[in-house]
């Protein structure tokens, strides 16, 4: 399965005040807060972690059909940087999701997969025109699952 999440950093700046008292404690575990503390750019780390949690939650939600709001339950590993992409994982109650995150000055985009081998299959769609929906989940004409994320100026559509 696949899940993605894009963040428009300029919009996030106006929508959220992550420095607000209590904000980080509600959504980030101790080890994630350490990653934020040690990051060169705190804000980019906050939103990178958030986009990874969101992308992993999308897979969880699709596989279980359970909806919940428990960001602490989805814990991000540290990321490794290679060839312009940050790789990591997100763990939810022992289940591991693998993430690849692309960070530009204006946006953060994470793609999560449940099977690491699926990274090589990922492709991006330009628009929604060829998509249909099954049980609320968009899919391609060849019945491959699609994940759509939209925030501010950005929309990213990915499939396997």
């Amino acid at each position: 399965m696949i899940g993605n999440d894009v963040i428009d950093i300029d919009l996030a700046k106006t929508e959220s005040n992550w420095k607000r008292k209590g904000f980080l404690d509600k959504i980030f575990t101790f080890s994630e807060q350490l990653q934020i503390h040690h990051a060169e750019n705190h804000e980019l780390m906050v939103w990178s972690l958030w986009s990874r949690k969101e992308a992993a939650y999308k897979i969880f939600n699709r596989e279980t059909t359970i909806r919940l709001y428990n960001p602490l339950q989805f814990e991000c590993s540290e990321m490794k940087f290679s060839e312009g992409i940050y790789s990591g994982s997100v763990t939810n109650k022992g289940i591991v999701y693998f993430t690849k995150t692309e960070i530009t000055p204006n946006s953060i985009h994470t793609i999560a997969v449940s099977d690491k081998n699926d990274f090589s299959k990922i492709y991006e769609l330009k628009d929604r025109s060829a998509l249909t929906k099954r049980d609320g989940i968009p899919e391609t004409d060849t019945k491959k699952p699609v994940s759509i994320s939209h925030h501010g100026r950005f929309e990213r559509i990915v499939s396997l």
Binding site: N17, R20, K26, Y69
Partner: protein, 84 residues
Amino acid sequence: MNREETIEKLKGIVKPYIKNDEAFQNLTEDTDFIKDLQINSANLVDIILDVEEVFGIEIDNQSMEKMLNIKAALEIIETKTAGK
């Protein structure tokens, strides 16, 4: 505080974060924060922090997990304020 008063207070908290005015005008207990009001998931944290401040309660992780719609929020507020 009765349920109508709690809803009014909750609506005041939620209002700055909504992206769908029509759903907000027609708000019921079944209204979903994300699906109907189209609130950004990161702003749900703000709503939870605002609810804690306004009602003087603490929303633990277990309660927060269910805070997806007005009804769940009301139930959490009522349970926590009753215990005060």
